[in-house]
Amino acid sequence: MRPTVTSTANISNSSALRAAFLRRRRRDFRLFTLPALVVICAVILFPWLFTVWMSAFDWKIGSVAHFVGLDNYAQLATNQRFLEAIGHTFYFTLLAVAIPLVLGTWAALVFHREFPFRGVLRSVFTMPMMATPVAVALVWTMMFHPQQGVLNYVLSLAGLPPSLWVYSPTLVIPSLVLVEIWHWTPLVMLILLGGLASLPTEPYESARLDGASEWQLFRYITLPLLAPFIVVAAVIRTIDAVKAFDTIYVISQGGPGTASETINLYLYLQAFAFYNIGNASAVVVVFFVIILALALLLLYVRQRAKWVQ
């Protein structure tokens, strides 16, 4: 509100009057946020609280709820399937963050240069990011098909043996990561492209005078300057990868067996296949803590990135 003080000073010379005026305006502005606040309380805040409350009950939809305290959490701590789901989530996340970061950096460097049809090609490259995940996942399901799938045909062209893709317990997570890479590398690219556009040109000019090679320019100038943006992209990607649901659910349903069952998939089954609301709520709370930690990390990193700039 500070900047407004100078302009309103003209109309109300007395400082008491002005203070009252500003207070009234702040109250009016608060009224503007009221309707949204009500909606957010109803559909966001209430579910959060309800979930935490329900996690202390043994409740299946249609039966009576029993208060069990922290039992649901204790059970989760020793639940082999849940612990494996956490493992799958971290494995999936690690791959689905690292690979798009590398490819996204490369793509950003390419799109940062001028070349014919750059705008059109960039639009095409970013199309996967906006496409409906379910629609895309269905197409990938058909592409992964071991007998009629086009991917095994591509492998055969390269002289490679056919793969089972998502039908193999060991390959299912890397295969799903392939879809994730295709889907979200564009977002990493866009963030880094924004970063590249903001870099200063002087360091490059002086380094070039010193006879630095293209690789040295990238390694010792671009990469360090781009680091804050890479970190932001990494954290955003991490949050999205941990939350991944649609593509995994459509393509593998967490299978074969439970080989690709992530926390989110496990949660879905507990809640909407077994209607085990108490248990699922406890899963949500644990999941929530993980994601909240990551969200705070994002805000912290964004703050630091601002300083570096």
Partner: protein
């Protein structure tokens, strides 16, 4: 980087190194062109394959080696999904739910964004960011229980309310950011002329904020449209949104690839068209907030 390349070339091209330098430059150009192809082709090829599957008959779709170019192309798959799988109904459901949720979010979210921007209440946007990062499933369990209690499960009303989880944070976040970029002087002038805060919002700030509203509306609509899990859980057979219907109805009723690919195109085409319309603004909105659909 473009300046970088050309100036390096001009130095190395001088006199004695002319021929190897020219060869090197040609090679480098070739490598660069190759990397463009490698980067862009996966995106193009998957969408082209989607199109190819949707335009072929079932015999060609299951052929091995695969038939790439439909000859002759057939629109039977598209006709079939609308005629036999009532895709039209689900399309309408999606428009009602995403349209309704976006309109409601605009109604409460635009004034809220304004209030937040003028109060400089940055902490509220933090809360909204955290809300955007929470997995959609976390909201679904409590809301499912409440709708069950109210007898609203399987209705479009319940779905529209649930989609507010997606649309409200996007609109508030984008509008708060947008109003902050607007100069306050004009509003101050209106206030000095005796207008109320409401008049100042309605007649000065709101018209200026039109570009921001357009971007917020389209992004909120896209993310709501793309959402799968709310429809999959809360909707009944007749009230499913398009993504949920394509997954639940089509994949269980039939495993034919042609109709499935045709339905996938029907789901995703509106989004891709909207994306093309405001390509630049979407990019700015997405990378600035680092937010995407739940």
């Amino acid at each position: 980087m473009s300046n970088a390349a050309s100036s390096v070339d001009s130095i190395s091209c001088s006199a004695a190194f002319r021929r190897p330098a020219r060869l090197k430059r040609a090679l480098r150009k070739l490598a660069f062109a190759a990397s463009i192809v490698v980067i862009v082709s996966p995106a193009i090829l998957v969408f082209l394959w989607m199109l190819s599957l949707s335009l072929k008959n079932e015999v060609d779709n299951l052929a091995y080696p695969p038939v790439f170019i439909p000859s002759p192309p057939t629109f039977r798959n598209f006709v079939q999904v609308f005629a036999e799988n009532s895709l039209g109904l689900y399309f309408w459901n999606s428009i009602v739910v995403s349209g309704g949720a976006t309109l409601l979010a605009l109604l409460v979210g635009v004034p809220a964004g304004y209030g937040i921007a003028r109060l400089q209440a940055h902490r509220t946007t933090v809360l909204i960011l955290i809300a955007r990062m929470t997995p959609a499933l976390s909201y679904l369990i409590p809301l499912y229980a409440v709708f069950q209690f109210l007898g609203l499960n399987n209705t479009l009303t319940a779905l529209t309310i649930t989609h507010l989880v997606i649309t409200v944070p996007i609109i508030v976040y984008i509008m708060a950011g947008y109003f902050e970029t607007l100069p306050k002087e004009l509003e101050e002038a209106a206030l000095i002329d005796g207008g109320s805060v409401w008049a100042m919002f309605r007649y000065v700030a709101l018209p200026l904020a039109r570009p921001g509203i357009v971007v917020g509306t389209i992004l909120a609509f896209i993310f709501s449209w793309n959402n799968f899990v709310f429809g999959a859980v809360l909707a009944g057979r007749a009230t499913r949104t398009l993504p949920a219907a394509v997954y639940n109805v089509l994949t269980f009723e039939q495993l034919a690839w042609g109709p499935l690919a045709a339905a996938a195109i029907v789901v995703t085409l509106p989004v891709l068209l909207l994306t093309v319309v405001i390509q630049k603004e979407i990019v700015a909105g997405l990378t600035h907030g680092g937010v995407k659909g739940a």
